[in-house]
């Protein structure tokens, strides 16, 4: 996983404690392509902006599901790799120094009094880590929902005692025997990254073929990593902490692998989850919006894959357009004296929009 953008380091000090408060004009919920573009646009409109995402890095579906694929239908790019598109969106928004609240899921929406918001109320969105974002308006760009790592069957009791779903810090695995479960890019990338740090690395994959990049798989196979295919973890064993991973092979035999850490890289599942309880009209897990991208709650707008209206097409290009519409309408909601039309960015040589005014 790539490091979060610079600005998050500035606004999210290391060890930021739960229960912190963030004060902004606009909160963007979801840092996928639509959310990142909304973040840029809100900055361009002179709004102080925060963006929250349950994933540890921005990029939404693009980074979670297909960072290495080329995309051919984004206007102005004859072809661009998913990862590069996201990096460009982050760079474009960075000019306005948005506050990134990453690795936190937006759970509840209320007004400052803690009740159902009414028109003109200041809003509070609270995350699962207890961060409270105070804002005047919200743009929900939640895509297909929050991504959570697919759980390792039978692993639940071992979380925090040896089982993890992401590698936060490579150095934490120094001198450990590590078992990585999975066959995608994350599994193989982590195996490569840990090969020289851990005492041993074993990759366990259900199938013979890896989904990861062929070149990375070749690197892994040429290195010190033990690769076990056609096999799955049958159970974990330990005392306070994990010490052994039992692996069942296709022929039914079970082998024991000493391990102080098991990293399950089994992909993600998405679920709209908490947004369904925000009092917004939702049908089949999609948010109903009007032509101004308004939801049924005053001050709450939406854009991208998560919106629904007759004729909706779920594409990145469409999400960008909706994000601009949502933010410009939110700007006039926040300050009715502001015009709906933002002006042309090209009229401003520095491209810094209203923030400079």
């Amino acid at each position: 996983m790539t490091a979060p953008p610079e600005s998050s380091a500035a606004s999210l000090p290391a060890g930021a404690t739960a229960g912190r408060d963030v004060e902004v004009d606009l909160l963007v919920v979801g840092a996928g392509p639509a959310g990142l573009y909304a973040t840029y646009y809100a900055g361009f409109r002179g709004l102080r902006t925060a963006v929250v995402d349950s994933l540890p890095e921005p990029g939404g579906q693009v980074m979670a599901l297909y960072p290495e694929k080329a995309i051919y239908d984004v206007a102005g790019f004859p072809g661009i790799k998913g990862r590069d598109l996201v990096a460009n969106l982050v760079a474009q928004a960075a000019r306005f120094d948005p506050v990134y609240v990453l690795g936190e899921r937006a759970e509840t929406l209320t007004n400052e009094a803690g009740t159902t918001p009414r028109a003109g109320d200041r809003l509070v969105v609270t995350t699962d880590k207890g961060t409270r974002v105070h804002c005047g308006a919200v743009v929900i760009t939640g895509g297909i929902g929050t991504f959570t790592p697919r759980p390792l069957p039978g692993g639940h009791a071992w979380e925090g005692r040896g089982l993890t779903y992401v590698v936060k810090e490579l150095a934490a695995h120094t001198g450990q025997d590590v078992v990585i479960v999975g066959g995608g890019d994350s599994a193989v990338d982590w195996a490569l990254a840990l090969a020289d740090i851990a005492t041993s690395v074993t990759v366990v994959h259900r199938r013979k073929a890896f989904r990861a990049h062929a070149a990375s798989v070749a690197d892994m196979e040429a290195g010190p990593t033990t690769v076990v295919t056609d096999a799955q973890v049958s159970h974990l064993e330990g005392d306070d902490r994990l010490h052994t991973v039992h692996v069942q092979h296709k022929d039914g035999t079970v082998t024991a692998h000493p391990a102080q850490s098991v990293i399950a890289a089994l992909g993600f599942t998405a679920d709209i989850g908490p947004l369904e309880r925000w009092g917004i009209d939702i049908a089949d897990r999609k948010i109903l919006v009007d032509t101004a991208m308004r939801t049924t709650v005053p001050g709450v707008y939406s854009a991208g894959d998560i919106t629904e209206y007759p004729g909706k097409v779920r594409l990145i290009a469409v999400g960008f357009g909706e994000a601009a519409t949502a933010v410009n309408n939110a700007a006039t909601y926040l300050d009715p004296d502001q015009p709906l039309f933002p002006g042309h960015s090209s009229d401003d040589p520095a491209g810094i929009g209203a923030a400079a005014a």
Binding site: Q61, L65, I144, G267, A270, D271, D284
Partner: protein, 109 residues
Amino acid sequence: MPYVIGSECIDTTDMSCVDECPVDCIYEGDRKLYINPKECIDCGACEPVCPVEAISQDRRVTEENEPHIADNRRFFIEPLPGRDAPLGSPGGASKVGKVGVDTELVTDA
């Protein structure tokens, strides 16, 4: 343009595809699995893992699997045999568990 499961799945049902789907939209009938066309995000992750190559994009299905495009949809929008209401879009197969019945096309296969 969702992905569709064809007749090859009938009585194979090894569930490999279910493990791959990021939106958990592959539902288990009795002798076959079905993709919810409203929930599928067209990512293609399920296609390569099927041991019997039952899965394809709806624009690319083989001629003999053509009826399964409508049949995958039917599993969700019409009441299944012995049920009063259609399954609809429950938003996750794991919430529903094994449905345990098939469409007529599959039962009669």
